[in-house]
Amino acid sequence: MSQIPEDLKYTKTHEWVRRESDNTITVGITDHAQNLLGDMVFIETPEVGTNYGEGDDCAVVESVKAASDVYCPITGEITAVNESLADAPEMVNKDPYGDGWLFKLQPEDIEHLEELLDAEAYGELAASEEH
């Protein structure tokens, strides 16, 4: 059973979102997603300063099995990316909610965060996909 921390928000496309104290958000892919994709070999992060709309593809996680898009959970501007993934893409497997984060974003409207899934709803979604 994969980990789904209670304090995060989730998307149906398997990104997790953490609200930071400065009202930016941090985004990564879930434990469930990294389990399905397998060993990561390359992470293509977005450029800092680029604006993305909700649902735009903004990063690519490439594993030994597939290269998959990561979708932007909320409209906003990229403020930071996890540079260390360039040399250590396996952090996404080892610590998907910690050192394996992908990017930080300044949302246009932080309140949209409330529209994302909570841990319970995402848990149901992930469980339904496992069958």
């Binding site: 070999v41 390359f42 293509e44 450029e47 490439e62 099995k65 597939a66 290269a67 898009d69």
Partner: protein
């Protein structure tokens, strides 16, 4: 597994099972107006003997013309061993094999090919080949738009000194993806990219295409162009003749940081001239861009016992895995031509290639001397060239070429076909295959025609 064709009974049983009366009925879905009512201009069948006779007669009709035309495809001597080895059963396949890793010999050959192309172009990585030079350039343009992280632009600077037919192919392939090809005119005196035509302000371009040698045979100022592009956040795509790289600076050494993507037509490396091909394209790039490179890439690795082995690598970018998000719909390579080119390069070695390239250049210089000695014939542009250059004829270029053809000489490429402003200008080329006597014969015939 034997191949057993369907018998009439098989067909009848299958049609009955799906409740259809005839095979014809399976095509009912296609509206009548879209269906061909037969091939009216194709003659009725001939027997094998009749076809052999017809083709033999036609081949004789062509004669053994002396060829001084290049314009993208070049006549070079091909050692007999090249095709003797290439057509052995072990190599004889058009594509990357299925279950590729079961064919270690083929993969090793492709890996050698990639290494040779990377070395020749001075780049870090190369793929296992593309279909031809023109489509390789189209792939390079698409790749540059994907890969340029400093610019989101879909505009490409495409000089008129790039092969005109490559430009048409690129346009046909990229136009529906919103990519705009901005033409850059050439300098009328030198026959190279006109620096004054390059955008004055730092504009927004994904890439600048630099041909070397360019379509007129002339050598572009690659260092300056490469630096200019990088200063303007544009990537550099080099389109090169691989044979010329035995003498010229490789694209990886252009300017301060080198070209980003290199592509070209591989035909000069052991592939005979033939109308319609098959030829092959090659492509190499900087390591940083490898995940945006289309096509197959063979990697060298070790197996569980630590023995070297070869495997297709970076397949996650490819169509069978990434579907519509793949880097390209190329999902094979031009296997047989690549095999021939690898054997050609291995036979020639670095010294052999350099010697061929030097002979080409020497013969072209001789041809230039002789041609410009004719009254009314002069060089069109004054830039240094590799093995091809443009000449100005006193009158009626197309007509003169026709008269030469009647005397079994392919006298060059009529530039007015593609450049209406270059009336009576002809592109000529002399490779290592031309002897001093061949050149004398060409010049003598041309002299008679123009005098």
């Amino acid at each position: 597994m034997p191949f057993i064709p369907h018998t009439e009974d098989d067909i009848k049983t299958m049609l009955e099972a799906i409740g259809v009366d005839s095979i014809e009925q399976l095509f009912d879905e296609i509206p009548a107006e879209l269906r061909s009512s037969g091939l009216k201009t194709v003659p009725l069948r001939l027997s094998e003997m009749e076809v052999s006779r017809l083709i033999r007669d036609r081949a004789t009709q062509d004669g053994q013309a002396l060829c001084f035309a290049g314009a993208g495809a070049y006549e070079h001597h091909i050692p007999a061993a090249v095709w003797e080895l290439t057509t052995r059963g072990e190599f004889y396949s058009a594509y990357t094999p299925y279950q590729a890793e079961a064919s270690q010999g083929t993969l090793q050959l492709l890996y050698e090919f990639q290494s040779m192309i990377a070395t020749l172009t001075g780049m870090e990585v190369a793929n296992a080949s593309l279909y031809d030079g023109a489509s390789a350039l189209a792939e390079a343009v698409l790749m540059a738009v994907r890969a340029n992280r400093k610019s989101k632009s879909k505009r490409i600077l495409m000089p008129r000194t790039v092969h005109p037919r490559y430009r048409k192919v690129v346009h046909a392939i990229v136009k529906n993806q919103g990519i705009i090809l901005e033409e850059v005119d050439y300098d009328r005196a030198h026959g190279i990219i006109n620096h004054n035509e390059l955008p004055k302000e730092p504009g927004d371009f994904a890439a600048l295409v630099i041909p070397q040698p360019n379509f007129f045979g002339a050598l572009e100022d690659t260092d300056e162009l490469c630096n200019w592009a990088h200063q303007h956040n544009a990537l550099v795509i080099g389109v090169v003749n691989p044979m010329s790289l035995a003498l010229l600076a490789p694209p990886g050494a252009w300017g301060e940081s080198g070209a980003d993507i290199v592509c070209g037509e591989g035909q000069p490396l052991g592939i005979p001239l033939s109308f319609g091909g098959p030829y092959f394209g090659f492509m190499s790039c900087k390591q940083a861009l490898v995940r945006q490179m289309p096509g197959r890439i063979i990697g060298r690795t070790v197996d569980l016992d630590g023995k070297p082995g070869y495997a297709l690598t970076l397949q996650a970018r490819e169509q069978h895995i990434r579907r519509s998000k793949a880097t390209s719909n190329i999902c094979t390579n031009q296997g047989l031509m690549t095999t021939a080119a690898t054997i050609y390069m291995a036979l020639m070695g670095a010294e052999g290639l350099e010697s061929v390239a030097a002979h080409c250049h020497h013969n072209s210089r001789l041809l230039e001397d002789k041609l410009t000695g004719l009254h009314g014939v002069k060089r069109l542009f004054d830039r240094p060239y590799f093995h091809e250059f443009a000449i100005q004829l006193p009158h009626d270029g197309a007509n003169i070429l026709q008269k030469l053809a009647d005397r079994h000489i392919v006298g060059g490429f009529d530039l007015a076909q593609e450049y209406p402003e270059l009336e009576n200008a002809v592109l000529v080329c002399a490779t290592e295959t031309k002897t001093a006597q061949d050149i004398e014969a060409f010049v003598a015939e041309l002299g008679e025609i123009v005098s």
